[in-house]
Amino acid sequence: MRRISLVATTLAAVLALTASVGRAVADGSGDPTAVKEDGGKWVDKSGTPTFHIGKDGKVDWYTFSGFRRYNADCIVCHGPDGAGSTYAPALIDSLKSLTYSQFVETVVNGKKSVNTASDLVMPAFGTNPNVMCYLDDIFIYLRARSDGALGRGRPQAHEDMSKAAKAAEDSCMGPS
């Protein structure tokens, strides 16, 4: 079920992108400004998941959750805070051009660049609930990092997990 809804969001994002041009600050998914919130989760004006950081630096739950999941499943290649390692790209740079749908596609299916000069391989995480159940969280976190809205290290303060977020996690991860 989760996968189907992801595909749907992906399509929506692609459609939205083709329509949006000429913003002041934009990443691969367009203007990241949060315009709407539902159950603690924010979206930008094109409906793509995005971060929301209060004036006091307090981040939304998803940005924080993405920070945690990134550090468990992505850091071993992509380095701390999305800053890259000796053998995998800095995602804070990648997200400047990658769209939400490309991000999702790459995480689900993986990516390969094997030739005489490099042997970069990203695994497919499509079957890994620790990644798939938190795909938007990770995207939102990296988007905040990429846009410079969030600095390095652990976010200092964050909103509590909403009931909706908890229900979504339980249904995706299964009973604990």
Binding site: N71, I75, Y87, G110
Partner: protein, 597 residues
């Protein structure tokens, strides 16, 4: 008679009078010829010590680069070459090329072997595609590939003699460790602790590749090759189901305890030694119990695999303090008595000295004063005295436990230490890094990361260096001298009879220091950061020192981007600058010698 090399020689001669197959007698004998470097650690005792002394404290300052060689690979280069006679054998990270270089002809390539491996193994290697070295015995070179294939090559031609698949990368099982050949058997471990692999050490016949025994780190007694009555833990029989009792349900099946470190061997006691890694997952609340025998020192019979004794250093790990670091065997004076000891610098920050015949715990002290998760080790029970505020278990899921020292990469990782029988000191490359650790819920899928915690790492408060190179007295449990390094020291050390100790740094320096004082005598910046292990050999009357450069590994992840600095606001500056400002990718062997012929 504190010199283990000599003691081992006499002991080996006596021991081998009994055995018909004397394969390891050859190796033991060969390792006593200081001109060669026949196994990754120099000798079975894992001492990384050489009797060569042409290069000494007086002349090492004149060292020059004699020749260089590129492996053509740009990933982290751990390990180091072997030298047997006039041939040097160089290995590299994935795709794991092996080169035989002719030392008589300026390193001309005699043969090259490069296996064909499915590149899908790359992303299931936890921390870069490293390979820690080759093994040699009876005219064969043994390579443990990334995809877990163990291959025997003809040392003269590079021709494949046999190969066997040890594990399945689709389940996250990978090969990074160097094999050790003991009595005609090739012993290899397996990697995959972050993928919930059920880890083990396996012995293969060196002539046929046929499996001889396999010993898991956790599970039923017949799978872990533990005899409930005969195998001891601190002198007492371990009893029935010693591992099963310490896991919830069948969690042991995805319990990790990986065996990706080094193996050593005592020919006289006829025991092999190695450590097991972290229990999977990193979330301790999801795996109640002591999780035996993860984080354990094993002493096993090399013919049968049966365990003589075990000792678990960190029961129920809460910090990823793998117990895989090398076991260095030496004969030293402890409390006025000469003891046959095993010395081990654990990731958990404690330097352990055990009686290697019985597993009795003699000394256990912090080899980095900043270690804080435990105040000490109870020598009677062997248990660490934990500090509640640094317990990630007590903090619970979704709680960030702060200021734990050392960080998950440990006060030392796989980079092997050296022992000099001249000074009776151990030379230890260390990490000086602390962390915040927050465990949370994870779910297991075969072949996928199974981590369950988020970490931030930074130097200890008040310090700006992330590493130290230290000299350690294993009888007293004391640091004798300590050289601060800006970054973690991730290179294996080499001690020599010339009174010089060598190591590499992440910026790429090969350094030579005085074994007695730690005073820096020489440094040279190689093309890339060093995570390889320094070795030495003699050719045509000349002593050479060699090391692989090629930054990467765990260090490449944690340090390439720089660590986060929670104290920056307090005025600590400069020391945490990113490694990428100092060095770049590489894959080169640099060989040093004194000028003149």
């Amino acid at each position: 008679m504190r010199n283990l090399l000599l003691a081992g020689c006499i002991g080996a001669a006596a021991a081998f009078a009994m055995t018909a197959a004397s394969a390891s007698e050859n190796l033991q004998k060969m390792s006593q010829n200081p001109k060669d470097w026949v196994m990754p650690a120099g000798n079975y005792a894992n001492q990384r010590y050489s009797e060569l002394k042409q290069i000494n404290t007086g002349n090492v300052g004149k060292l020059q680069v004699a020749w260089t060689f590129s492996t053509g690979v740009l990933r982290g280069h751990e390990g180091g070459p072997l030298v047997i006679g006039n041939v040097m054998y160089v290995h590299g990270p994935f795709p794991n090329p092996v080169f035989a270089l002719d030392l008589d002809h300026d390193g001309k390539i005699l043969w090259k072997y490069e296996p064909r491996q499915d590149p899908n193994v790359i992303p299931v290697m936890c921390c870069d595609t490293v390979n820690r070295g080759l093994a040699y015995d009876n005219g064969k070179i043994f390579l443990h590939q990334a995809d877990t294939t163990l291959v025997a090559l003809d040392a003269k031609t590079g021709k494949v003699l046999w190969q066997v698949k040890d594990g399945d990368p689709k389940k996250g099982e990978t090969g990074t460790s160097a094999p050790l050949v003991v009595k005609g058997k090739v012993l290899i471990g397996i990697s995959g602790g972050e993928f919930g692999v059920h880890c083990r050490v396996t012995a293969y016949d060196e002539n046929s590749g046929k499996m001889v025994w396999k010993a898991f780190s956790e599970g039923p007694d017949d799978q872990i090759l533990i005899d409930p009555q005969k195998t001891t833990d601190l002198g007492k029989p371990v009893g029935k189901d010693s591992s099963l009792k310490t896991w919830k349900g069948d969690q042991w099946k995805i319990g990790g305890g990986c065996t990706w470190g080094w193996i050593s061997y005592d020919p006289e006691l006829d025991l092999v030694y190695y450590g097991s890694g972290n229990p999977s997952t990193w979330n301790p609340l999801q795996r109640p119990g002591d999780n035996k025998w993860s984080m354990t020192v094993f002493a096993r019979n090399p013919d049968t695999g049966m365990a003589k004794w075990v000792y678990q250093m960190t029961p129920h790990d809460e910090w990823d303090y793998d117990g895989v670091n090398e076991m260095i065997l030496a004969d030293i004076d402890v409390g006025g008595k000469e003891r046959k000891v095993l010395v081990h610098f654990d990731r958990n920050g404690f330097g352990y000295t055990l009686d290697r015949g019985t597993g009795e715990l003699l000394v256990a002290d912090k080899y980095d004063p900043k270690v804080n998760w435990a105040t000490g080790i109870d020598l009677k029970t062997g248990k660490p005295k934990r500090v509640a505020k640094y317990s990630t278990e007590k903090g619970g899921e979704n709680h960030n436990t702060k200021g734990i020292c050392p960080a998950a990469l440990g006060s030392k990782d796989e980079q092997p230490a050296a022992y000099s029988p001249q000074t009776h000191l151990f030379y230890v490359p260390t990490n000086h890094v602390c962390m915040d650790y927050e465990p949370f819920r994870v779910s297991y899928t075969a072949g996928q990361p199974y981590v369950g915690a988020t970490l931030s790492m930074y130097p200890p408060e008040g310090d700006s260096n992330m590493g130290n190179f230290i000299a350690w007295d294993a009888a007293k449990g004391k640091i004798v001298w300590s050289d601060a390094e800006q970054f973690s020291v991730w290179s294996g050390a080499l001690a020599t009879a010339g009174g010089v100790v060598f190591y590499g740094t992440l910026e790429g320096y090969l350094k030579a220091v005085d074994a007695k004082t730690g005073k820096e005598l020489y440094k040279f910046k190689t093309p890339s950061g060093i995570i390889g292990n320094v070795m030495t050999y003699e050719h045509k009357g000349k002593q050479y020192v060699a090391v692989l450069s090629g930054v990467g590994g765990w260090a490449g992840i944690g340090l390439a981007a720089g660590l986060t600095d929670p104290h920056a606001g307090l005025g600590a500056v400069g020391g945490y600058a990113a490694l990428k400002n100092y060095t770049s990718l590489g894959g080169q062997l640099t060989v040093f010698a004194l000028p003149g012929s």
